[in-house]
Amino acid sequence: MELDVQYLLQQLVNGLSNGMISALIAIGYTMVYGIIELINWAHGDLCMLGAFFALTLIGALGIGAWSGPMAAFGVVILLLATAGFCGSLNLIVDRFAYRPLRRAPKLTLLVTAIGVSFIFVNLGLFWGGLPMTVFGEGNAAAAPKNFPAIVPATPILGGEPGQVTLTVRDLMIAGVTMPLMVGLWWLVRHTKLGKAMRAVAQNPTAASLMGINTDRVIGATFFIGGALGGFGSVIYAINNGTIGFQLGYRAGMDAFTAAVLGGIGSLPGAVLGGLLIGVARSLSDGYLEARWTPTLVFTILILILVFRPSGLLGLKSKEKV
């Protein structure tokens, strides 16, 4: 069998496209881990709720019927509103579930996050059971919901059989994720808040002695991580075409694996990990079988944790007792 270059390239394009979404969600994991060493289990499910919020908004405003420049405007509204929703929800959860446990053992916090994740999943189930036209009335609550293709998959490059195809949707994904990542990098490196975040990540006690309001900084981290997850959930839903209350688990595990692969706590690591996981997934879908893809992702996750727990770009060791 000769190597089909076009097929391989197409898989790579798809993989990078999906990988950018994973990267966006992975940043939410890595930021929270970097600052309070919590694996924020509920993050994937937060994105699931974000997708439901976006779909509800489409139904309420009728965005699905908009066309031309209005459609682009609709996407912007969706992105901003969902980011605001996810960020605020994450902030609220931090305020009521995690903040009271700041001084508690780390595993207490992790178990709480698992609990929050289960609550989110159940809320997603109830949400999907609401009698709304946009959810498909009469559908069971647990059934996947169709997400309208507000950004069409029109090819802008190739499109003929035998050509590598790049669609408007791929462009939208890159157009949303890249500025966000650059913006985040700028925020962490060059603003006062970013400096405070780095300080709290390094040593919360010392940071608070320097007059930094650590609770507020941690809250801001949750908000930003959640908001990026909100952006991610909208483009995930548009790209995927359907959403369901259980999508958070898989999407979250992919993103989490990406964060660990890149080195959890490292922002460039999350991006690199996301792209690598995206490519690995699409190669597995294309050359193995799609049903083995989750197994592959989890195997990668375990192997990294065993052989290189600090990830590709993570610090070699974090001795900061």
């Binding site: 446990l101 595993l107 207490t108 178990v111 609550a141 595990m253 989890f298």
Partner: protein, 375 residues
């Protein structure tokens, strides 16, 4: 929290106290079928089987999470390994075709071996990383069971599987000297599974007080200090891990026999691992009586109380079947989630807190190490 812990001088009375809880539960469990019979059949006997099996699973998990202080999020995978090895050893489409007893006994070493294989390379990892590894393993096992259809029959599951048998003279109703448990008479199942649970409780009590049990707890409290006292942390954790896996696989064998089928692989998913974790946390990590109470609360609420409430509500026409809120299954995640969040917030030591050695210095509990310390 420290102030509330019993200090060392009341240790004895406390230990006697928890044995008393065990005995109280045992008497209640023995009396339940009589109550059920007197009251004309409340239908409590059959769901109790699930409580016993989950209590065994919880006791297994308690060894890793309670005694040794490692968060384990994939215990359902070891239960699945028990279920499928019981099925493959007994079902007539496979060459082994063992009976109930040899197959059930074999699930124990098989489970231990699986635990050993996973634990060996991974137990040196930090707490939260280990949790992720166990989670990933759980997912891999479930995917493999679903995808290797030639062996596991995929989502159809393997069935039928043999029920328990007991030697019984033909004069007393046995066939060829054996009595085979029937699906429609729950009482023998009830007493047999209760007996297994009692055996597992006794084994756990003995392990808790044994040399290895004390080593588990010392590793939980401080693995660096245990190391300097001559207790190898990784090896000690490995024994805990393998023991828990063996008990979980045993619970799986019982489960398979009671269902007479493996069911589909998603019956052993992350949700089951979390249910087992809820049982241990709600009851009180590291406390055997606590795990028993936890199993009764979690499974009892889930399988009995919720079902009764919803069937009553349906009868009163308070809920419609079309509504998403009308089915008890749709509330399960919310229930588990709230149980975890509220317990962690208000009662992190569980309903029946375990006796812990008095801590000096920091208020940090057992499972936590200072940030970044290598283990």
């Amino acid at each position: 929290m420290d102030a509330l812990r019993p200090s060392s001088h009341c240790r004895r009375s406390h230990a006697r106290g928890s044995t008393r809880v065990d005995l109280l539960l045992l008497v209640a469990a023995l009396a339940l079928p009589v109550v059920d019979w007197l009251s004309g059949g409340l239908g409590l006997i059959d769901p109790m089987k699930a409580i016993f099996i989950y209590a065994i699973l919880g006791l297994g998990l308690n060894i890793v999470t309670g005694f040794t202080g490692l968060l384990h999020l994939g215990v359902a995978a070891f239960m699945a390994i028990g279920v499928y090895s019981f099925a493959i050893l007994t079902a007539d489409i496979y060459p082994f075709q063992l009976g109930f007893w040899p197959a059930l006994l074999l699930t124990i070493p098989i489970g231990a071996f699986a635990g050993f294989l996973l634990g060996g390379p991974t137990l040196g990892l930090r707490g939260d990383y280990l949790a992720i590894v166990t989670l990933g393993f759980g997912e891999i096992v479930q995917d493999v069971l679903r995808n290797l259809e030639t062996i596991t029959k995929g989502t159809q599951g393997i069935n039928p599987l043999p029920p328990p048998t007991l030697p019984l003279p033909t004069a007393w109703g046995g066939t060829n000297g054996w009595y085979e448990f029937q699906a429609d008479t729950p009482q023998p199942w009830y007493y047999l599974f209760l007996l297994f649970l009692v055996l597992v409780v006794v084994a756990n009590r003995n392990l808790e007080r044994s040399r290895i049990g004390r080593a588990w707890m010392s590793v939980r409290e401080d693995d660096l200090a245990s190391k300097s006292m001559g207790i190898p942390p990784v090896k000690t954790k490995l024994v805990a891990f393998a023991t828990a896996a063996a008990i979980a696989a045993f619970a799986g064998g019982l489960w398979a026999s009671s269902l007479s089928s493996t069911g589909e692989p998603s019956n052993y998913d992350f949700q089951v691992s979390i249910l087992a974790l809820c049982i241990v946390i709600v009851g009180g990590m590291g406390n055997i009586s606590g795990v028993l109470v936890g199993a009764m609360v979690m499974i009892g609420v889930n399988d009995i109380v919720l079902q009764k409430i919803f069937s009553w509500m349906a009868k009163q026409e308070l809920t419609s079947t079309g509504s998403v809120f009308g089915s008890p299954n749709n509330w399960k995640f919310l229930l588990f989630g709230l149980a975890l969040v509220l317990m962690m917030r208000f009662k992190p030591d569980g309903l029946i807190p375990a006796r812990k050695p008095r801590e000096t210095g920091s208020a940090r509990s057992a499972t936590v190490r200072p940030k970044g310390e290598a283990s």
